[in-house]
Each structure stands twice: as C-alpha cells, then as structure tokens.
Symmetry: D2
C-alpha cells in the first residue's frame, strides 16, 4: 500500500481551516516561527525494522494483523509512516532479521519511499538456527575466544550489509552480563568485550561511527557488561574517535537523571544518538512521551542547547543516530510509531521555544524560580500547530493518526498481507 501525496492532501483539506486558526494564533505568540518550522521540517527520526510488528513480553505475545512479512514490506510500512509525517525518513535494519539479499533492489525501493538507511544493528543476544556456538553466556564478553570471534564476525558482516545499503553507523547493543553473583569476572568480561569491540572497530569504514549502547539490566539480572553511561564511555574512549555512547531512554536505574547524562556526553563529544521510548519501571519500551513527557522535553532542551554550544546542530546531517525503539504490545505498531514521532516533534519544538539567553541569565543569578518559569513557559505552550504546519510544508498529513484511521490503512494491510502474519522482532 502506498499513500500518495494527493490522498494525504485531500485528507488535509477538511482540517485546514481549523489548523489555520491555530497556527495564526501560534504565530502571533511565538517569535521567528518560520525558523522553528524549518528545523522541524529538517528533523528526521529513524524507524527500526523490528518495531513494525506487535511486540511481546516473556509472558505472551498478542499479534495484530497485516504485519510485514519481509524486508520489502517493512520498507513499505516505514514508507507509509513517512508519507504521513515526513519525519520518518530512515529505516534502521536489524541483522539477521532483515538480511538484504538484493541490496540494490532494496535501496531502490527505499529511495522510492524517500527513505535512507540509518544505523545497522547486530544481534548477539539470541542464537540463530545455523549458528555454531551459543551466546547463552555472552557474546563479545565470552570466556571462549571462538565464541567471541563468532560474534565479532557477525558484527563485521552486519557492517558489510550496512555498506551495501548506504548506512553510516553500527549500533552494538550487548545483552552480555551475568545473572548471579560469582558468575562473571567483571574485569575480564570488560577486557574481553573491549578486545572484541576493537576488532569490530577495526573493520569500520572510515566514515562510519560505532554506537555503544548501555543498559542497566535485562536480559541479565545481576550485572550488565555495558551497564551504564560510565561503562559505555569507557569503551568509547578506549576505542577511538569513531566510537560513541548511545542512550536508550529506558535503559537506566530508577530515577536516573538522563538529561544530565546527555549534557555530559555532549560535553565530552561522545553522544552518539538515542533510542527513544518511554517507561515507568524499566525497559518498558512504551510509546515515546506517553509516561514522562516533561523528561523528554528536558532531554531535548539539553540537545538544543548542547548543539548550540558545540556549534553542531544535531538535526542537520550531524550524524546523530535518532531512532525510536519501542515494543508495541497492545497498540497497532504504526499508530504507536506515529504517536511517538509526534511526541518527539512536540518536545523538540518546545525546546526551540526556550529563551536561552534569559535562561542563562537566570542561572547566572541563581534565580531558580525564574529558570523554572522559563522552561515551563516553553513546555506549557501548545506547539501542536507548529508541528502540524511543519508537516503541511513538508507535504505530510496535518493529523497523521486521523489520516491513518480515516484512510483505513491497517484494514488495507490486512487485506494485502493477511490477518495472521508475524513480523520478526521481539
């Protein structure tokens, strides 16, 4: 299924009058609306190939219908999202779930949908049917050199697939760790992992980046070998200038101050990118902005300001890895992703409203109440009309979810693909 620009424009027609009222009001209130809108138009978030199907937990999985059965159909799904919001212009593949057997064709197909290929992702947290060694006791950390080599080789193969498609970065998320005290020599696990990462790093093309993702717990329940930003940064620093830390919002201990971590990683020049989602307890992988929208705004505020300080706008080809990483257990995955992108755009727009000069002035005077007022002024502003206007200007839908529903996209996908399809992924 393809949503042509005309279909989307037609759907917009009935919403336009109301939007114009909203937008005119917003314009009258906010300075320099056009430059904000331009930045929103430029901003793109990658969609991971594994987020297009219904996810599950260890307790159960309740699949929906019309899920993509192939890489081609996954690209088609992201194409639908991008047609609706013109902000999902990249797809992030996961190997071996999405091995492109004919990369040129895949590239052509993606280009037809206006999609680029974002970071490629390796998988050493599951065993594949044809695999010689098991990752039961870890991959890059494994005490067995042969198992480490298998995992290293897999990562190098993933890079090759990425090169074929035009990706420019590799994301390494390791489930390596331990479940019980005593199981692991933490130090040797770190050293083995470092050695393995160095071998992968050596295979990285000159213009590539490596993102080292950290996670506090799960699937290992006692220790994780890349467990927090401190460990990830240690690895990234030891690896070299192409290695960066990747922040997944759900991968922290309770109450962690993620925005501060983001700020410090930017200070060190080592923030590589994000996996966006939301959570209440752990790695819940919920829709972005559904639980802690203010935290999301605060993170974007650091990004916006950090980019200014670094003189490296993160939204203009800076190579930041932006991606949504959620697990849609009970929602239609495409609706969930549309909601996630919208929440990101809203947080980003709000962060652009922050009066940075006044904020720094308040900080300089330790005027804490004022600093809070400045942030809340931006956060409490209804920026939805700006986001909608950015979509119009980019040729997207004024209201992606409404369009998705009115145009009966899911129904059409089910009729094309069937009711009982299950996409690869978690």
């Amino acid at each position: 299924m393809i949503l042509s620009e005309k279909i989307i424009q037609d759907h917009n027609t009935s919403l336009l009058a109301k939007h114009k009222l909203h937008f005119e009001f917003a314009k009258s209130q906010i300075n320099d609306v056009d430059s904000i809108i331009k930045r929103l138009v430029d901003f793109q978030v990658a969609i991971p190939s594994w987020a297009l199907g219904t996810g599950g937990t260890r307790f159960g999985r309740f699949p929906g219908g019309g899920e993509p059965r192939s890489l081609e159909e996954k690209i088609e799904d992201v194409g639908l999202l991008h047609a609706l919001n013109k902000t999902s212009g990249a797809i992030s593949l996961h190997i071996p779930w999405d091995i492109p057997t004919a990369p040129k064709d895949i590239q052509t197909l993606a280009a037809q949908h206006g999609l680029a290929f974002d970071a490629v992702n390796s998988n050493t947290f599951q065993d594949q049917a044809d695999q010689e060694y098991s990752y039961k006791f870890g991959s890059l950390q494994n005490v067995n050199k042969a198992i480490r080599k298998q995992a290293v080789d897999h990562n190098i193969e993933v890079i090759k697939h990425g090169v074929d498609l035009g990706s420019k970065s590799l994301t390494v998320w390791l489930s390596d760790g331990s479940c019980f005290p005593g199981q692991l020599n933490f130090r040797k696990a770190f050293e083995n992992t470092l050695e393995s990462l160095q071998e992968i790093y050596a295979a990285l093309p000159a213009d590539w980046k490596m993102f080292v993702e950290y996670k506090a717990f799960e699937p290992n329940f006692y220790s994780m070998t890349v467990g927090d930003w401190g460990q990830s940064l240690l690895f990234a620093n030891k690896l070299g200038e192409k290695a960066y830390t990747l922040v997944d919002l759900g991968h922290h201990l309770p109450n962690a101050n993620i925005e501060q971590i983001v700020s410090l990683l930017m200070m060190e020049g080592k923030l590589g990118g994000f996996h966006f989602n939301d959570s209440k307890y752990g790695d819940d992988d919920l829709t972005v902005g559904s639980i802690k929208p203010y935290q999301l705004f605060l993170i974007f505020n650091e990004l916006t300001q950090g980019a200014q300080l670094n003189n490296a706008p993160f939204d203009q080809g800076s190579g930041f890895g932006w991606m949504i990483d959620a697990s849609h257990n009970i929602k239609d995955p495409l609706e969930d992703l549309l909601q996630s992108v919208e929440a990101i755009q809203i947080a980003y727009a709000q962060s652009l409203l922050v009066d940075t000069i006044a904020l720094e002035d308040a900080r300089q005077n330790n005027d804490v109440a004022k600093a809070q007022e400045i942030l809340q002024e931006a956060y409490r502003t209804d920026v939805r009309a700006l986001v909608a206007e950015a979509r119009i200007r980019a040729g997207a839908s004024l209201s992606p979810i409404a369009a998705y529903r009115d145009l009966k996209v899911r129904k059409e996908l089910i009729s094309e693909r069937g009711l009982k399809t299950i996409a690869t992924g978690l």
Copy 2:
C-alpha cells in the same frame, strides 16, 4: 530416571565422616537441635511444573537438554529432587500446560515418588490456540463480559483438574492491567475483576483456598490490577474467608519491605503463601537466596514468629502455599531448584535459632543494637550441618547438588529424553 534410596545412601557414605564432625559441633553450640531438625524434616516446598525447563526472557531462550516432555516426566523430575532432598514433596501444576488426561494414573505416579499436588495455577495471561477470545486486554478485568466469562470458566476448569488430583488450593495470578495512561478505568477494572473472582470463588470446594497473587509490574507496564498487597488484601477481604494473599518475592517495587508485609498479612489472617525466588531489579526470578539472603532470613523470622503468635505453625499441615517460582535461564533447572530449596532450608533453620524471648525483651527496652545482635547471631551461625542432618534423617542426600552431579543425573535425562527437548513454561 529414579534415584533409589540406596544409591543416595551410598553416595552419602563418603561424606558422612565430615558431616558428623560438623554436626557434633553444631549440636554442642545450639540448644534443642532435635526439635529444629524435626521441623526441617517436616518442612516441604512445592515445585512448580513450569520450573523444570529452561526459562527465557523476551530477548531469547537458551534451552538445555533432557527437559521433561510431558507431565509424567515433570513428575519424574520433581521425584528426583525429592529423592535428593526429601523437601520437595509436592508439585504445583499449571493449566493448560499440564492438563492431566488420566488423573488417576498421574496421582499414582506422583504417589510413587512421594509427591502431593499443591495449588493449581490458571493461565489467563497467554492465548491458547483453541481459545475463542483473546486476553490481549486482560482477562478477569476485561470490559467484555464474554471474555471475563471465558477466563472464569477456565479457572473453574482448573479447579476441577485440581480436585481430580487432590489439590486444595487455586492460585490466581493475573497479568491484567494497562500499559498506558488512559487505557483503563482503574475502578471498573477492579470491579470487573472482583466480580470475576467472586464467580470463581463460588466454584471453590469447601476445603479449598484461593490465593490472590499480586505483582507490581510486567507484563503490563503502567498499571497492574492486582498490583500490591493492599489491592490483593482488598480482593481477599471482599471475597471471603477462603481467599488469601499470596506473596511472590520478586513482585514488588524497589526497596519494598517484604517482611513487614508478611507480618501484617499474618496479623490479618490473610497470608496464603509464597512464591520464592530472588531478584535485584524486578521479577528477575533468580535462584532463591542468591541475591538477598538476609532478606530471606528476615521473612522467615516473621513467619516463625507469626506462627507462634497465631498458634498455627506454618509447617505442619497449615495449608500455607509454599512454592518456588523461578526462571532458570542459564542454570540447569534441577540444580537451580536444589540450590533454592537449600537456601530456603537454611533461612528457615536460622529463623528457628532466634532467641525470641531475648528479642522481645530487647524490643521492649528499645535496645536496638541488642535486637540486631540477636538476629545476626542466628543469621551468622552456620546451620548447614543441621540442614544436612535433617536430610539424612529423612533419607535424603547429605549434599544434593554433589549427588546430582556425581550421579550424572542430567546426562542420564538427556540420554533418555534427548538433547533438544523444550518443556512448557516461560
């Protein structure tokens, strides 16, 4: 495979001399050793049928070999454990994973292994292939009366299976809840759940108990409809005198004081039983006593003291539901269970060493340092010789794990059942 008492006695022989030294020393230090040992001998912990295979997480599952392929083989496995420790004299079935098609034969088989049938467990957190309605949005809480009825009927069927086998209790663990703000009307969800539970309760035989288990989160990530002991107790009180709260050690928010909850539930006469495991982060389902052994001791201390206060010793046919509920992702499940039972026995034995009179005296005098000394005196005592002696007297192995390994049980099971079997369960 069956481990005869003779084989186990033979294995004990070589360990006896060392044990006797240990035990003689313990006997010289501890008052009334025989009564403690008698209580250890009487103490039994049920093994759930789903804990006999390798568990997994949503990220992966790394099966071991020789896992039981049928209910009969599960009983055989628990029989092996019970032969080794004479403390695992009951099995807890999970329907529909373990439907006994010929209950009489199953009862006979269990009796041959010295096993009783503990609480039966229903499953409305997964969809079965032949099921009319899905539990995607909850079972007993569902907004759809027909779905609630299906779930109620399933529970009633589970009771019937239990009756056939001689069980005396039903454990209801609900994954019902919500993943997003707005999804659920909390109150209606509670009321629907209550109504459903009442219908199940009405089908309970006169001498049965219903255990209402609570859990803070997972698989639902925003709210759980039976989320904490307060909610469970509300249900149990509204249901009636046969309804009780069941405590699973891993089902709490970070830092919860579980021993206090246990004490208060005993005060209210509503503590139904336990699911034992251990965890560092959430429902990690790790080996009992592997992370927080002191907490386990403190819980047993409340049980021991609460039983005295209630004049209802929990270990002598009181109907307490004791069960291990762990997920053995990276250990041999049978070894994990042997370690778990051992940890429980140690904590129980230590709790029996507490000088209760001196403790109450210290409390009465607000002598906090002394109260701590009294508990630590018991906890720091090496009670392993007592536990071993209890096993000898019961005809079990002095060192179950050593015996399990020396007698090559897993190797034998693999040769009988094959390397690539996967038991039902999580």
Copy 3:
C-alpha cells in the same frame, strides 16, 4: 504587608490586553469555558504554616530573609498569596509550632485575609523542650504505654486548638517505624498504633475527619508503621467512617502508580486528601509540577472522574483536604508556593478538558491509542489563559509571580521583619 485588590488590579492592567487575546483564543477552542472557570474559581488549596520559611535538609539550611516570626505573620504571608491568586484561601496549622494563644484574634485576623483554617497537624516526630518522654523510638507505636499516652494527649490537644479556630480535620503523620531489622515487632507496633489512633479518634468532634498519612521511608530507614496506602487504609477501616487515607505525592516507593491508588481509595470512599509536592527520588518536597507534571495531571484526572462517579465533586465543600506540602530549600518560599498553586490549577483545568464520554468509549473498545490521544489532547492544551481568567474573575492577579516580583513583596517583608528571621518548620 497587605496587597490590596486595587494594587493588584493596577498591576493587571498592563497585562490585560495580551491576556484577552489568549483567552479569546482559548474560548474559541474549548467548550463550556465558563463552567470550567467557575470550578477553578471555587477551587482552594490550603497552605501549611510550616511552608512559609526556608526549609532545609539534614546537611544544611540556607535561610532567606523576611520569614514570618509568628503565627500572625504566617497568616499575613498566606494572605499575600491568597490576594495574589485567590486560590490559597486556607491555612493549615502545625502544633506546637503555631499554638494560637488568642484564638479569637487569630480567627479575626485570618478572616480579614479571607482565610479559613484547614486541617490541624500534630507533631510527634520531634521532641519539644518541655516534653516528659522522648519520641526517639516512636510515639503512637511506642512499647511504653506512657509515651503513647503523651502522644495521644498531644493529638487531642491539637484537636482542641483546631476546634478553637474552626478546623474540621486532624492530619496525623507519624514518623514511627524502625531503622534496623529486629528493632520492631511489626505487629505489635501496628496494634499499639491502632489503639492510640482509636483513643484520638474517640476525641474527634462529630463533624471532624481524621486523615491518616502514610510514608514509605524517612526518617525511619527500615520500616514505617504507616508505610503505604494499604496500611493506611487498614487503619482507616478499623477506625471508622471519620477516618481517611491521606496521600502525599512524595511518600511512595520508586515508580509507584499514585493515580491508581487515588482511584481505588475513591472507590472505597476513603480518600481523605492530598499533600501536594513533587519529587524525583523520594520525599524531595519540591515545587508541585516541577518534575512530573503529567503525573499530576493524571492524578487530577482520577479525581475529576472519581468525583463524577461518586457524585461528590471534590471542590465544592466536600471536605477533601488539599494542601501543599513542600520544602523550599533554595527558592523564596512564597514564590515556590505561587508556582505550586499555579501548577495545581493547570493540572486541574486540563483534567476538566478531558472528553470523558469519548474516553470511556475508547476504553470500552480497548482503543488504547485513542484513549492516550484523548488524555494528551487535554494535557497538551495550553490552559493558562483559563487559569488567568479565573483569577481575574476572582479578583486576583493575572500573573501572581510577576506581581509578586514587580511589587517587591519580599523586599518589603525583609524591611518589616528583618533579614535574619527563621520561621519554625523543617
């Protein structure tokens, strides 16, 4: 210092034109604006007497200037707040910090500022200079009957002070608990506390309520005798129909779902009131809405809906105890309180925008994405113009903090009271 209505109106003048634009836009977007504004006008939040000075932590306290030196000056401070926002029309006293020696005069003074007396608060978590027994090891839970009696008598005395002033409720927050395993017999502590509460309850006037506040930890660090809503509800149920549970937002374990607790307490008819604040880690006592504004909205959403279900609007003389309970360590306390009230009003207004019928409909259809959209539609709406309009109609300031600063209130208070005053409180 008194802020006359004229001064405030004059200050409003310059802001009116801009406000009208905002309000006209809001009016064009939102149905039934007038009824929402009426509810905002009616809504009042009590200010606790101890929140008017700079708070501190155990590590230090950094006082500001011009803090109130007497009960009279505290009333004056709340009067200033109320003049500015017309939403702080009640003061909650804390005994013995605020013993009214001449209650009639105090009542007259409060009436001049338009203030009522909200719940009175007892203090058995500190020792007073003239006190016979120490509360080091607890008050209502104490093993010593004489100490319990002293604490009970104190509470009864607090009720008497409240009667003198026209209060209608007593809030009992107990710091009782234990710091070490073994220190407390949990059950006896509960029973002693219950007995003590019953004695206090017996002294309650016929038209009074008792609020039993719970807290997860601090100042006791191992157990709290009223530690969660389950325990508080047990007490409230055993005490009788005048006893209720009081929810303080900061008194929970990490990640607790407070809005669900609120909903269930309303279902049970046992929600007594709130202590509003915000926190990231524990009982941080930060400005309301400064950390988790969406959670605040979700709580108000339950209140708004629960009140409809109960047919008992919580904002019209229903006797709900609404109070701010924060500790202003680094902000001007009055500014902090103005920000807190504003955040509460915003959350309340947003909750009134929720399309309840559509929400219940979405729930009935398990349309989770839609339910989220409905809540977010309300939450993302900029309601500040409604709140400001409510203030205008009530004779308050359009922008309380701007007025507070422009009118140099703190400077004036310092000149009246001095730079080095320290208000009683934490």
Copy 4:
C-alpha cells in the same frame, strides 16, 4: 576514659574457653587460618570524627548522653573503640568541625591511643557563621568565581590541617547540584567544578591523594554535579594520577551493582577508597552490614580479588581510604561503630575464604551454579571465631560490644561529660 589492655584481657578471660572451642573447630575446617588471621590483624578502618555523636534527620535529632565535646574527646572515643577491637586505628577529621588548634598536642594524644590520621574532609555543604559567601547554590560549581575561590581556599586550608597531623589524603564530597530542572547548566557546573578541583589538586602535597566522592541525590534533589561513578571518574581522570574515586555504599540509585563498579574502578587504577554504611532506600547511613550483608561480602570479594590481580594488597599500607560513614540516629554511636567494624571484618574474612582458583575455573567453564556454590560456601561459613582470634592476637576484646556494655563505658562517659552534650556533625 581509657580502657587499658589489662581490663580488656580480664574481660576476655571468661569468654576464652568458649572461644577456643569455636576457634579449634574453625581451624579444623579452614585452610591456612594463620595467614587469614594475620590479614585481619593488619586491617584497619578509619572512624570519622562526626560519627561519634548521635546523628539526625531533617525531621528530628534525639541526642544521647556523654557525646564528645571536643576534638580531644573524639580522639578519646576512637581510642576506646580501638582498644576494644584494634581495628579502628585511624581517625578522619572534618574541617571546620574539628580544627586542631594545637596540632602537635593532638598528634601526641592520638599516638597515645595508637591512632593515625586518615583522610581529612572539607565541608562546603553548609555555611559557617563567619563565612563571606553562602554555598546555597553550590560551592566548587558556583556561577560566582568568588564563591568558588572561597570553597577552593577552604579545601586548601583543610589540606594544611591534614599536613600538620600526618594525613595523606583529602576527601572532597560535594553537595553541589540542583533542585529543579533549568536551575543549572550541567556542563558549566561540571567545568566550574573541574576548574576548582584543579586548583585544589595543585595544592596537594606530592605524597597525597585526592578522593572525589560521588552521590546520586540529597541534599540536591534534581541533579548532583558529582552524581555517579562515571562522573567521578571523569573528574579523577582529568585531574591526574593523584585523584581517585571514592565509593560510599549509600550513594547510589536503587538496585545499582556496586561490586561491579568497584571492580571496574580497580581495573582503571582509580579506586580510592570507601565510605562504609548500609541502606535500604538511599543514603540511610545505617550500620554496616545491617541490611545487605551479602552485598558487603560481594564487594569485599572484588577487593580481595582485585588486589591480587593488581598485585597491590589493599590492606597493607596501600593507601586505600577505608572509613565508616554512618549516622547513628537511634543507637549508641560507639556500639553502632563496633557493630560496623565487626560486620566489615566478617565480610573481609569471608572473602578470604573464597576458593579463587576454583572460582575462576567455574567461570572459565560457565558453570554458574558452581560459581554460586563457591561464593556461598565462603559466605555461609561462620568466621566469627577467626575474627575473634584476630582480636585476641592483637590485644583486643574477644567480644567488643559485650565488653563495652559490661565495662559500662557509656555510663562512665556520661558521668565525665554530662548527659546533654551534642557532638558536632550531622
């Protein structure tokens, strides 16, 4: 008050027979008992000067009697502890609470008690009466250069006092951070703090170390500028080879794996030392080993093994900063410290029992159950007789708390110093 060796030996007499039985048994079970005992004898833990009085929380403080009124009396108190356990042979001073006006005399006094001077501690988390600038908004991070300079100068002064007394290290714990989003530019706060630390570092004598302590939260409740080990390590690396990270057990987010942090810091050569205490919720500052004794053992296990790997035994003049950092709110501070030291000794002794070769072998074979058995074998062993024997050989008490009570030390201190003394500290 001084406890002579004779008094202590006399007290030992009655306990000796029982001890000998215990010790003989332990000796028969454990290899190379003498070398373990030697390491226990050598092991010393510093006592901080502020831990000798009753601590408090922001809610209240309940002082005991006979608290030290001067630095001399604090040294006397530590002398009493050291006489009793011969393991508390150092005192850690806190400036300005303990400014030594006559350092030579103080040194002489300490020497008479067998005490050395451990790390000196600066205090920029409180304002002193005579201080020009306030630390309300931070010290080393402050936006105001003059305030930073004041804090730097204070630290340099602290170093001077330390030099006078023979200390060899400075511990910098900063409460710097923020309470509200927006308050701080995280990056500038980091950079200011780094600049300030560099100035202090420049003043460090050649043979000194600087310990940079981190803390997750409190007294700041939104962000801490040295908030976790990652941040501390960043500072330490940027400062130079004399700078190290200091780990306080209570300064972590919920569920943090502290033993892994310890291992990685040792790998990096940047572990400076410890502040020992225990906690259930946050920085509860409870008696060491009173809540999570197994965690304490696991930490010591990393230390013991890490020291072997580094070939730098941490207990023989390696310059590790070992200190107890607790707050004795409801226990006699000296009893609390005796319990803490005992818990540390037990954990250390148990860690020395670990069969390291077998453990590494189990790890090499991914024998997780075996690795757990090996750790539990050590942990479940009753090592109290070894610890007691070490004390006898060092000339200390067999049972320090029994001796403290039997010899009525507190009573004597009260008679010497009075009932209503309050020691400086928290």
